[in-house]
Symmetry: D2
Subunit: 314 residues, 4 copies
């Protein structure tokens, strides 16, 4: 693998933090790129060996730019995921620490998550929307505003000081990042895996979503994520991003994929990979590998003559 | 195959008629046997090459003796079926044709099917229950009763005359017979096939029957018969006899059997064989052989690296 | 209520035993009648105040004659049920106790339940089918056969002796009897009730049985019995006898009946009545009376203007 | 109703266009407000009689700010909807028409929808993200950038000229707007209605979403929108925004709401109102008002004594 990893920049974002978390030993060069498509292009061109992009946030939901970019490529697979706890800081230029704060720049999503804190601590400040929290930090460094709401990492990246830490109104927001690679096989199962899919159902068939969910339910596969997204073809036309807690190589998942492929208008496979939380997936007895193998052996035996069968399967 | 065919006797029953219907060329010796277990024993011992027994009737439902006997063997398979339209005749000794009829013997099931006719034509006659319609005919031949309600074939078998024909109150009752063989493989699919199964569900799982039906429904397999039978283990404990319109070798049926085997307490396979009515089974596009093959190829391709896929599946 | 109770005779059957069990104080005169329709006719004519008939057996399944007769009347309701443990005895004339037994008469159903015992104890005896176990006992009393397999109560009824008791091969067979009345309202709920229904589904709608089962499942109503019966209209045409563990007056049952009536080809209600085993029915929280009442109040509130609602429902 | 209507400003957005579309006669004063919560506050304070806000877009999906604001109020109801076809124009200062365009400001969502056009027509231009398309237009008017991608209406609002029209890459994007009011009853059914709901399912119950969908499916109610949104409580915790094609006062909808209220963790009702496309909703026979009324009458009749029923329901 190329020694470089692309990540959705700029520097100082939570994505950089997720990338460092994945590259535990710091063995790789990290390359910030401006957009998710740019990250995918760098992967496709072989300029980087992996790319890290944000996927979903427990408060805001999925990251549309990532979903859109993944939808438009056939070349990459998710091979890992990282979770980062979202913490916001109030960043100022070091020399500004004692001065009054009249303007605060940030991304509207971040503003929404610190609204209560701002109302209590800086009731007079004017909030200025910027296109990213890192851009807001940079603008503070350039003297455009008095302060920025941004990731703690942005302080180091832009030479700012943390005037206040952990200012999100609600504890515990988490962002999930995915690590993408090209031209690699699916990683082997670990017993605590996730599979990411995109399914497009037949819009004119009323029970289509019920059928889709059933493909997983009857095989004891839990979904940790089911997110509707417009197809762009008209109001009421949806596709569904799905995270399922099973690995491609498990018989129950193989059969579910077969079912989806048969009944959906389209289905895309974006990888099977270890869960960041390493939480093992309980598999009901009727859907585990041994049960599938025994059932398959039984079905194979049926085409020959009837013979006295052995004891019942349990 | 042994040149003899056993059938549930005695002579003159609808079962003999079904057997002659199956043995179109009259090439085999027909052997009446007194019970269904006796027919199965003759098969198992190699004394006969096939056995014909009644399976279900459109008015009375399934034939408990046949179901019970099949349940208790592991050795035989259904390889064909025959349908016989049920017609009852009033049989008398030839010399009795002009005399008054005061006693009519028959099996209670048959009595139920001609109740209206008897009330209209022989209001004064006493109805005497016998253990089979053929036994009733025999008793008439022996002079015990004045008349019998029986299959038309019983006239020839016992030297009786038909005093009245086609006397069933309701037109169109049909009995289905099955042809059993031992030690033979499943006959090849014809496009108009039936598969007979016996499924025992987990009694303490409320949705178990829903799940069972779903195994067929999601794969576009129609059931032409679903009949509950007590397991003998207690009130409220059922097993289900199922006739499904697909052949063992179809992918959708293979997968359904796999699902049944995984989720039922027990499942027994009694054969895939051509439908007597040769009515072809329509298969929904999402469950036909081509769709299954294409979906399986797609799933197999997923474990390798992502590659630009070809056009969508349709 | 008339002081007499009709029961399916003759004397000495399990039905008489069930009737005495229900008429605990022996306050009523018991009237054996020859057929189930005769029992219903006596009820309809006001000649008796109640009628007791067999409904289902844990080994043989339902009693076709009862189901058929109930189907054909609109006049009666099940108001109670009784369970009787099935015990067979070998009955002989008192003076015959020491003599060899060469002929044994019984009903074929009973013969099936004592087959093993007969093979072990009376391997040489010839088994003669009769139309009921009581008829067999009577024939023994008349000297036609050496012995009868019948209910213990038949000894007293026909002046016979019990040469052997409790000879059924399998312990624990149970028969359920129902008590029928005419012109009475549904008995009040006891918390341990059963409702008996007959549903005719649309034969040409593949998912019809799934839908029917779903009407109960989504409302947390367990079925203790689901029995398919031919409609008589052709092979593959079924109606379903259903026992559901809820009372007509429960909101969840009311709503389920509404759903059945809307979606089935026909549905018949045969009564809500206390379970003989007095086993209380657990009701899931989402389907209990309080939840239904609260939800109904909420829905009623919606047609007015939006108002600040109170705390969430839990 | 107050003579004023609030809408999500600034002037020149598609929301203004939707508002004018609803206020057909131009009878009301239109009041742009900066945020959706501001619109709701104006409604609650009685300062305006109605408020118009964007709800969903066929390309981008739902509008998070609207969903968030609706979730946080108990005071308003949707009483109508308007559809507006999305058209983007390239806006410049009138005097700039012939000059080269080096900078183009717009909202990132709009940039995504005209990406192809920009690549073909203005390959050299730098795209600058702004917080709304109207803000971009305003900045052009102030001389900050050379051009803006915005709604056609922004030309009039900011004194700009349309250098190019209808430049969206994909024809046919549509935005749906909703009209909100406070303190008014639900409008009467028209036969072509929609009901908007928010349902929070029990996260730890695997089949919960299947159950929710089933509440509509079994009553023949189609969903035109099902959109998952994070609850903010953690990854994998969802609530679902639902648009159902039935009116609160229809029996099938009343019953579905009852079912949702019983089985969901929480359910919110945001109004039943006429569809903008006036497309009448087909109601299956088993779920129409007559069938419900007849079934309810039948169920009510059951608690009395059994009586000879009239002819079957069809």
């Amino acid at each position: 693998m190329s020694s470089r990893i692309a990540y959705l920049g700029p520097e100082g974002t939570f994505t950089e933090q997720a990338t460092r978390q994945w590259d535990r030993e710091g063995a790789h060069e990290l390359l910030p790129v401006p957009t998710v498509p740019a990250a995918l292009a760098a992967l496709a061109a072989g300029e980087v060996g992996a790319a890290v992009v944000p996927f979903e946030n427990s408060v805001e939901g999925s990251v549309p730019a990532t979903l859109q970019a993944l939808q438009e490529t056939q070349d990459v697979r998710i091979v890992a995921e990282e979770l980062v706890r979202v913490q916001f800081s109030l960043l100022v230029r070091p020399e500004w620490a004692q001065r009054p704060i009249r303007t605060v720049a940030t991304h509207p999503h971040a503003a929404a998550q610190v609204r209560g804190w701002l109302a209590g601590e800086l009731p007079e400040a004017r909030i200025v929307p910027e296109t990213s929290t890192a851009r807001a930090a940079q603008a503070v460094a350039e003297g455009q505003y008095d302060a920025a709401i941004a990731a703690p990492g942005a302080a180091r990246a832009y030479g700012l000081a943390e005037a206040a830490e952990q200012i999100a109104d609600r504890e515990g927001a988490v962002t999930r990042f995915v690590v993408l690679r090209a031209g690699v096989p699916v990683p082997p199962p670990t017993g605590a895996d996730r599979t990411t899919l995109l399914a497009l159902i037949w819009a004119n068939r009323p029970g289509a979503l019920l059928e889709l969910l059933d493909q997983f339910a009857v095989r004891g596969i839990d979904l940790t994520r089911l997110e509707s997204r417009p197809t762009g073809e008209g109001l009421g036309e949806y596709q569904f991003w799905i995270d399922a807690t099973a690995h491609l190589t498990e018989a129950r998942m193989t059969e579910a994929l077969l079912g989806l492929r048969r009944t959906c208008r389209d289905v895309r496979f974006f990888g099977s990979y270890p869960r960041a939380d390493t939480r093992a997936t309980p598999v009901p007895e009727h859907a585990d590998e041994q049960t599938y193998a025994a059932a398959a052996a039984w079905v194979r035996s049926l085409s020959g003559p009837a013979v006295t069968s052995g004891p019942s399967r349990r």
